[in-house]
């Protein structure tokens, strides 16, 4: 079982964006550079987060990404599902009825117990991911990480965040 590498990248990006001033955006290319990632690779995953309503993507030369909601209302589950999809890791192929002499369909009305047991474990995984909010990750980072690391993140945001654009006026 393996999660795609994109998950690590976008959680780090979302945690960075949580430190930006409200309404400001940060370019995806700047975040790609900060984590030594290819911009096209990172943008693909950031756009998946935008499609899932976790981030907002602001287009144009002065655009970038920002959180679509507060860090307290974004969970690790939201982020993992945005990148990896909502399908369970265990995908029951109903092999119990794939043999040469399958019973009539009425014999398989009861769901397969093996599938049920595997999905029970996945519910425990998802519940644990849903318990951790982006705000918790950021608070833990601010409290426990090396002060140089926290200062580096703050400096990154100060250098790269782009001001909220004034709403376009219709005259």
């Amino acid at each position: 079982m393996k999660l795609g590498d994109g998950v690590e990248a976008v959680i780090h990006c979302a945690a960075l964006l949580a430190g930006a001033d409200p309404g400001t955006t940060v370019p995806g290319a700047a975040m790609a550079e900060a984590f030594g990632l290819s911009p096209s690779y990172l943008l693909k995953h950031l756009n998946a987060l935008a499609a899932a309503g976790v981030l907002e993507s602001v287009p144009g030369p002065a655009g970038g990404y920002r959180l679509a909601r507060s860090p307290g209302s974004i969970t690790l589950l939201d982020i993992v599902v945005a990148v990896e999809g909502a399908q369970p890791a265990f995908r029951c192929g109903e092999i119990r009825r794939r043999g040469p002499n399958p019973l009539p369909a009425s014999a398989y009305r009861q769901p397969c117990g093996i599938n049920m047991a595997m999905l029970r474990a996945e519910r425990a995984y998802r519940a644990a991911l849903a318990e951790t909010r982006l705000a918790d990750i950021v608070a833990e980072f601010s409290a426990d990480a090396d002060p140089r690391s926290v200062a580096q993140s703050c400096a990154f945001i100060e250098r790269h965040q782009r001001p909220r654009r004034a709403p376009r006026r219709h005259t």
Copy 2:
């Protein structure tokens, strides 16, 4: 995130083997036929279970597979780890230090909080898998599955199990 299809196949096989008489073996090819799987595909995964000490593989023309221990002491976690490996699904690439101006190593002594949070969720998943024993799967199947399905499994075992071989005598 996706588990390999082999997981479904080997859990079904282990549950079948739990119904065989003690010491008897069941050929892998017969189990492959019962689940509509290619024998070489299934044998690869059954051998992974044997390597992990979940099954025993008895070689020779009258050989096959049997559980290496009682169904009460085999968990879904034992089986999943045997097939998928023990590595976590989230593999931290330490991208926090991959940027163009990494801090000295001493700034990263604290483990990355994102990795810690992801591994916490995986521990919940593994704990849930470890709570379900093969004996539970079999008991649930016997109690809840359609009686025709239970009868079909029993008939399969009766037809395919091979007697325990008498220990070789040294004269």
